[in-house]
């Protein structure tokens, strides 16, 4: 049992609470899934801690006096949502902060101005979905950026022109799994970005209504700040649950079998565990994210959450099939359902 006197969990006994360890602890307790482990979480104190981490920019700090970035936003919101303590105060200005972290490349950075990066892109997108502001993002360019991150090696890279790494199987693969559930919104944004009646002109230097803002949403895209109208009146936390929804009819937006090949043939360590790439050492972080990425990949053709895939969707013997994970929280789906039931009455 870990330390949560102040609300939140630290790295070990006697340490200050930290959002990364809080996220890990909560997900671990949910994965254990017993009455005892779920009820051990002090939700009121947790909310207090999360509110203390909230910054005036709309983002969150990782710990008291700590760094502010998109990871902190995700870990805070993921925990708040899964424990059913997501409240308006946590969400103020958060969507705008994350939007300001979407770069000209389409991906999302750790802080405004930094480079688009797979880990932060997952954190940013997942958070926006959880707080029901996903249509503020330029989804077509985000999807285009992530789809382009799958390399000739078949795994995903974290940034343009960098090497592939097994952990991005989840960070980038997971983004595309989420995107698959948002395709109607992506399509809507694509539709409305068409500009009619513009003639190509060699002298055309004068722009139309250019907005100098960092978010730079095209004038024809969805207006920033519009929340998804269907969810009016639904409790904020429910969005995580309902949004997992049905995948659209089309398959994955990445090459699922190729990704599985990379994970099983390059990242897997035969003595057990997974690694970044051959030549690197195995560790628990890579083991976790390679497995989650593998699961996402195996279920990427399933229409309903956790629906057993066809054998053609699973590389290798069907015994390779893993448990499905919830792509927003990265916990095993049936553990998520159990905890959702437990916390939704509180």
């Amino acid at each position: 049992m870990r330390n949560d006197k102040n609300g939140g969990y630290g790295g070990g006994p006697g340490q200050m609470p930290h959002l990364a360890t809080t996220y890990a602890a909560v997900n671990t307790l949910i994965t254990l899934g017993s009455e005892m482990s779920l009820s051990s979480i002090h939700r009121e104190n947790m909310l207090k801690f999360l509110l203390q981490m909230k910054d005036s920019s709309g983002a969150f700090r990782m710990h008291n006096g700590g760094e502010i970035d998109v990871r902190a936003c995700y870990t805070a919101i993921s925990v708040a949502s899964i424990l059913n303590v997501l409240d308006d105060e946590l969400v103020t200005d958060l969507g705008n902060y994350i939007l300001s972290c979407q770069t000209y490349e389409g991906g999302i950075a750790g802080e405004p101005g930094s480079e688009a990066h797979g880990g932060y892109t997952f954190c940013g997108l997942a958070t926006m979905i959880l707080i029901n502001e996903v249509d503020k993002l330029d989804l077509p360019s985000l999807v285009d950026w992530v789809a382009s991150r799958q390399g000739v090696e078949c795994g995903f890279q974290g940034r343009v022109n960098k090497l592939v790494d097994g952990c991005y199987s989840f960070w980038q693969g997971g983004v595309l799994a989420l995107a698959q559930r948002l395709l109607p919104i992506v399509h809507k944004q694509l539709e409305s970005s068409f500009i009619s009646g513009v003639q190509a002109s060699a002298e055309c230097k004068k722009s139309c209504n250019f907005t100098a803002g960092e978010t730079g949403q095209d004038e024809n895209l969805c207006r920033a700040g519009t929340s998804h109208p269907d969810n009016e009146g639904e409790k904020l936390s429910d969005f995580g649950f309902s949004s997992i929804g049905r995948q659209t009819e089309c398959g994955p937006l990445f090459h699922s079998i190729a990704l599985q090949q990379y994970i099983l043939l390059c990242s897997q360590v035969l003595e057990g565990g997974f690694r970044d790439k051959p030549g690197k050492q195995r560790d628990f972080y890579h083991s976790c994210y390679c497995l989650s990425g593998l699961s996402v990949s195996q279920y990427s053709w399933s229409k309903d959450d956790g629906e057993p895939p066809l054998t053609s969707a699973v590389l290798g013997p069907y015994t390779n099939l893993l448990e499905p994970v919830h792509p927003l929280y990265n916990v095993v789906l049936h553990k998520y359902y159990k905890s959702h039931e437990f916390f939704s009455t509180l």
Partner: protein, 332 residues
């Protein structure tokens, strides 16, 4: 892992007279620890003494020195770093000395979040007088790893909070001369042209940047960075993207010379989806790329582009198929 004091020469804290008044506090692992960590003796002892001063909230010089030892053994201990800041502030310590210490720590742990955050805290306290030194320091880290994410974030923070923009565009040029594929340098370039108070902003810089980027693309069409950068120059302004001849001319040129470059085709697809009206020459070049064995013919150029990409960029064939099935209705 190197520690600040050589393991063999280290005098245990219990044997140091200046610590004799302190009772070390062991870690409370609870009654039945499931997987207790097997700490090294010197590590355990250092942390036991740290817990003592931390719980007593002792803000002294020796407390700072103790955090130095603890940090040396585990630079990821954010609680120790936080306490160090608290004590340094209370003591009104000489922060220039702190900066020298931090320089050495950072060189050894260049990808550690706590160290870079401490650096930001320190630089903020020291103010604009350290702007140039901070830029020099991040440059020294980038000399070893030109894509260190923390170094770049810190550099951007320094520029925005402390200044020093004068040579930043030149620095980007230099890095790109070294390695035109360095996406971090392209990102920094974007940062400079859009945010530098010394330049006119994106609108003012666009023309010259389009020229620079075009050259970079033509020198190396398979380099993804300048293609995304080019799109970025028109962010929020799709109408100008599709009406600026230079963009479509570039696609045409690249498609005529390289074999179905996926970035040229991807950009062309985006142009068409925004409403670009292609020339006959462009249509012809694209048609020529089509595999004549494919019997799916389309008068819709955008659909044709997608079909070509589905074959020539197989890793993304599902993505291109989705694009083809989701072309804006006016494009179909």
């Amino acid at each position: 892992m190197p520690s600040s004091v050589d393991e063999v020469d280290r005098i245990p804290l219990s044997a140091r007279p200046e610590w004799s008044d302190v009772r070390p506090v062991p870690q409370d692992d609870g009654p039945n620890p499931v997987a207790p960590i097997a700490y090294r003796d010197d590590f355990r002892e250092t942390m036991d003494y740290f817990r003592a001063v931390y719980l007593a909230d002792e803000r002294s010089r020796r407390a700072v020195d103790l955090t130095t030892e603890a940090i040396g053994m585990n630079p990821g201990n954010y609680t120790v770093w936080h306490f160090r800041r608290v004590v340094l502030e209370s003591l009104n310590a000489d922060l220039h000395e702190e900066r020298d210490f931090l320089d050495r720590m950072t060189m050894r742990n260049a990808k550690n979040y706590q160290i870079w955050h401490h650096r930001r805290w320190l630089a903020e306290k020291l103010g604009p007088e350290v702007a140039n030194k901070e830029l020099e320091f991040t440059k020294s880290i980038l000399d070893l790893d030109a894509k260190n994410y923390h170094a770049w974030s810190h550099r951007q923070w320094v520029l925005q909070s402390l200044g020093g923009w004068e040579n930043e565009l030149d620095y980007c040029c230099m890095l790109l001369e070294d390695d035109i594929f360095n996406n971090s340098a392209w990102n920094q370039r974007y940062f400079v042209i859009t945010r530098s108070p010394l330049l006119g902003g994106l609108q003012a810089m666009r023309d010259s940047e389009v020229g620079y980027t075009t050259e970079a693309i033509l020198a190396n069409p398979p380099n993804e960075s300048p293609w995304r950068y080019l799109r970025g120059l028109y962010k929020g302004n799709a109408s100008q993207l599709i009406s600026d001849n230079r963009v479509s001319e570039l696609c045409l040129k690249v498609l005529k010379t390289s074999n179905s470059c996926r970035f040229a085709l991807g950009l062309l697809l985006d142009l068409l989806c925004y409403g670009f009206q292609p020339s006959e020459e462009l249509r012809a070049v694209v048609e020529a790329l089509r595999n004549s064995e494919q019997d799916t013919v389309s008068s819709n150029l955008a659909a044709t582009v997608c079909l070509i990409l589905e074959i020539t960029d197989p890793m993304r064939s599902n993505y291109w198929a989705w694009r083809r099935n989701n072309l804006p209705s006016q494009v179909r």
